[in-house]
Amino acid sequence: MIDPKAVRGWISTFLRLQPGRAVDGAVLTDLVTESFVLVQLVIDLQEEFGIRLSGEDLRDVRSVGDLITTITSRG
């Protein structure tokens, strides 16, 4: 089982966010200057937590909370 706290912490570290910015409602595209950083984030998260996703799985992912739910539901 994947710990949501671990995923949130990983996202926060990867995006170099200040404490408290990786809240569930934070929109991912607002947290990065280049959208391709999100691609690397998703690939790295899969490597880190040993899961496999497709673009279809990410279609409705907009926020940090959406991403955490998607990752943890695969663990």
Binding site: E34, F36, Q40, V42, D44, S54, E56, R59, V61
Partner: protein, 191 residues
């Protein structure tokens, strides 16, 4: 002196090559060691070199690159959604590279092209052919894992997204290219 529209277009190419370099550079750090990692690293190197070629070309034409805040690739995520794995990234890359080579070929066919622009386009297009080839080979190597049909469908999905992005981009590009052609024809026709 370089025309304002040409400067904008060359600066847009430069910006897109920089975006590509940054993306492939990040990705080269992430993917597992192997043939894909090796070719991605070369691809990253090529894209950064292309950004340098455009910078040098613009300077030789007596201008400075315009700082643009968006590239062609930035619009892909919005249109096609976030790719979730290396196969999807390669599929989107193949579609994008074909678009790039098509756009550069169109530009190269323009009348009265400055020699600096023509030689830069020629150099870059050689590399782009290899980009399409290695990405195609990598996608074939992933068929056992993802399935040939699924990969083909993924490429088609991204091609459809690319057409949407291109239609949007085309408005600004075609306007600038048409203005350039008209200006060159006027110059050639002038006494």
């Amino acid at each position: 002196m370089i025309h304002e529209n040409e400067l904008w277009i060359l600066s847009f190419y430069r910006r897109s090559e920089i975006s590509g370099a940054l993306f492939f550079g990040r990705l080269a750090q992430t993917v597992r060691a192997g043939a894909i990692q090796r070719d991605l690293t070369k691809h990253f190197s090529d894209e950064s070199l292309h950004a340098w070629y455009w910078t040098d070309c613009i300077e030789k034409l007596g201008a400075k690159p315009i700082a643009l805040d968006h590239s062609y690739q930035d619009q892909y995520i919005e249109a096609a959604g976030l790719p979730g794995n290396i196969m999807e990234i390669l599929a989107i890359t193949q579609v994008f590279e074909k678009r790039v080579i098509g756009q550069y070929a169109l530009h190269r066919a323009l009348p009265g092209l400055p020699p600096e622009v023509e030689s830069t386009l020629q150099r870059i297009m050689q590399d782009e052919k290899w980009h399409i080839q290695w990405v195609g080979d990598a996608l074939v190597s992933l068929e056992a894992e993802y399935g040939k049909e699924h990969i083909a469908k993924t490429i088609e999905r991204y091609a459809a997204a690319d057409r949407k992005v291109y239609e949007r981009t085309l408005d600004e590009h075609s306007g600038r290219l048409e203005a350039l052609i008209a200006q060159r024809r006027g110059r050639r026709g002038a006494p």
